[in-house]
């Protein structure tokens, strides 16, 4: 029987690979997800048929409880809250790997407890637990429950280094002692701390990269657990996710023009929390406009590029944005959307939101495609975006975001910015674009402002 189980595992691995491949193309993505979930179903059913599995009560309770929680969370979540939820799911999966390793340790007699078992159990506990607490902190930062700015304290890297060395040292008793339960417990605690310590100094703007990296970790945790159980399915699927996660992380870092090391250890965006910006603010004036001014500019425009950002997500303004675009199009205005690779809280976040509002994805242009067009565009309409349009990234070498590719909105004829306040963006950096002469600031909730705009344009027409 177990040979059939293993054959089913092999089949499921193939489906995972094909599914992942299909997931990376827009046309086949949904099908790919169906393939991957069928692969999972096959793997689960096959495992239940394994001859070693003889008691089912705990498993069935587990599947029902876990399945219900997962399904409710997935169905109820708002599109804006998606990144946070993915972070939580990720932590959940990572912690499951830790628990499997601990459960297996509890079932291993001392003569079965080989060096390989010891190392792989230790690694599963370490990686799985770091994934858990790291993801929970990332969730907190995205949901605004933990301060989003980088939290730094003296000797931070030294402290992390000490924790790391202590963890390495713990592997000695774990490998050598016959029953190192105390060492595993200590490892669990230190890993919990390490996960928090690693993510807390990273700014909110970098959370997408962190989640992608943690996603890779949860794959590696599953992979380590595969070594504990000597199970090829776990190793294959886990390392697939691990590798895919690393590639995705690298792509995101590239989009921000930063190295992974800089993201993880750079404590990005801490510089501007000092008093220097406030001093400058008094000298510069911001032109605050009303809806009517914006209507006039928009009515005169023959081309408009909409630049959505996280503010749009927070205000859930995607539908009214689409309405506005429709009205402008009916007037004969060309409307395009410029999507910065890291706009929002996750790469592709804006695409998901606008797709929800039925904006066809052909209208969404990526940064490289749209940037040359700003010069010939009348109006750039910026909805709750900040760092991704900050010209300081091009010109100001002292700015923490210097070197990040941005959308060249300042080249458009007029720049209309709808924003809640003058507050800095997620990266904590001031934006000189707000003080530019051709910039019209409209303060207030993006959805409210846009609704008024839509009404004004309708009655005017």
């Amino acid at each position: 029987m177990n040979n059939y189980v293993n054959l089913a595992y092999l089949f499921s691995v193939v489906l995972f690979i094909v599914g992942l491949k299909k997931l990376s193309s827009p046309k086949t993505a949904r099908y790919g997800n169906v393939l991957a979930s069928s692969a999972m179903l096959i793997a689960i059913v096959a495992s239940l048929l394994h001859t070693e599995v003889i008691s089912f009560t705990a498993i069935i309770i587990g599947i029902i409880v876990g399945g219900t929680i997962g399904a409710i969370a997935a169905v109820r979540v708002q599109m804006t809250g998606m990144p946070e939820l993915v972070a939580l799911f990720n932590g959940s999966g990572g912690f499951a790997s830790t628990l499997v390793a601990l459960s297996e340790y509890g079932q291993t007699s001392s003569d079965e407890y080989t060096m390989m078992a010891a190392i792989t159990i230790g690694l599963s506990v370490l990686i799985g637990t770091v994934t858990l607490t790291g993801s929970v902190v990332a969730y907190g930062k995205l949901a605004g429950k933990v301060p989003t700015h980088p939290i730094t304290y003296p000797f931070q890297n030294l402290a992390n280094g000490v924790i790391f060395v202590a963890i390495l040292a713990l592997f000695y008793p774990i490998c050598v002692a016959t029953s190192p339960t105390w060492a595993l417990c200590l490892l669990l605690v230190l890993s919990l701390v390490l996960g928090v310590a690693l993510v807390i100094p990273i700014g909110g703007a970098d959370m997408p990269v962190v989640i992608s990296l943690l996603n890779s970790y949860s794959g590696l945790a599953a992979c380590a657990t595969g070594f504990v159980l000597e199970n090829q399915l776990l190793i294959t699927a886990g390392s697939l996710v691990g590798a895919a996660g690393i590639i995705l992380t690298a792509m995101m870092c590239k989009a921000m023009n930063r190295s992974l090391g800089n993201v993880v250890f750079g404590a990005f965006g801490v510089a501007d929390s000092t008093g220097t910006t406030e001093k400058k603010e008094g000298a510069r004036t911001v032109r605050d406009y009303g809806i009517d001014d914006a209507v006039m500019v928009l009515e005169a425009a023959s081309s408009v590029i909409i630049v959505p950002g996280y503010g749009l997500a927070v205000a859930r303004a995607q539908h009214v944005t689409q309405e506005l675009a429709q009205i402008l199009e009916n007037k004969g205005t060309t409307v395009k959307y410029a999507i910065h690779p890291v706009a929002g809280r996750m790469p592709g976040h804006m695409n998901v939101l606008l797709a929800e509002a039925d904006v066809p994805y052909e209208q969404l242009l990526e940064m490289d495609e749209i940037n040359p067009e700003f010069e010939t565009t009348d109006v750039a309409l910026i909805l709750g975006a900040n760092d991704v349009v900050n010209p300081a990234a091009r010109s100001d070498k002292t700015s923490p975001i210097y070197g990040m590719p941005i959308l060249d909105v300042d080249k458009a004829g007029t720049v209309i910015i709808s924003k809640r306040s003058l507050a800095t963006g997620f990266a904590g950096v001031d934006n000189e674009l707000f003080y530019d002469d051709k910039t019209m600031m409209i303060f207030g909730d993006a959805r409210k402002s846009l609704t008024e705009l839509v009404e004004a344009l309708r009655t005017g027409a």
């Binding site: 991957a36 979930s37 409880v65 993915v86």
Partner: protein, 92 residues
């Protein structure tokens, strides 16, 4: 060692495969792909089932049951959320 070597083969080949499969992805799919890959990492549910199902009582089973819960949250939630996102991408 005899057990370890074939497993290392599997590990290294899958890592290379993972790199290749994801080599070219448009930005718009980054979030769904991340969430889909995340659901796949819930494969640890298989480990959890194998661990929990053996004739065993006490702490190991309790740990195993919680492992099944956490892993299933990851799997079910992950795939559903990914599908919700992808459902919204449609052509004009």
């Amino acid at each position: 060692m005899e057990v370890l070597i074939p497993l290392l083969f599997v590990l290294l080949l899958s890592i290379f495969l993972g790199f290749e499969v994801i080599a070219k992805v448009p930005t718009m799919l980054h979030t769904p792909l991340m969430s889909g890959a995340n659901a796949i990492s819930g494969i640890t549910v298989v480990g959890a089932i194998l661990c929990t199902g053996t004739e065993n009582t006490g702490l190991a089973t309790v740990l195993g049951m919680f492992a099944v819960i956490f892993a299933t949250v990851n799997v079910v939630g992950g795939f559903l959320v990914t599908d919700r996102m992808l459902k919204m991408f449609k052509r004009k």
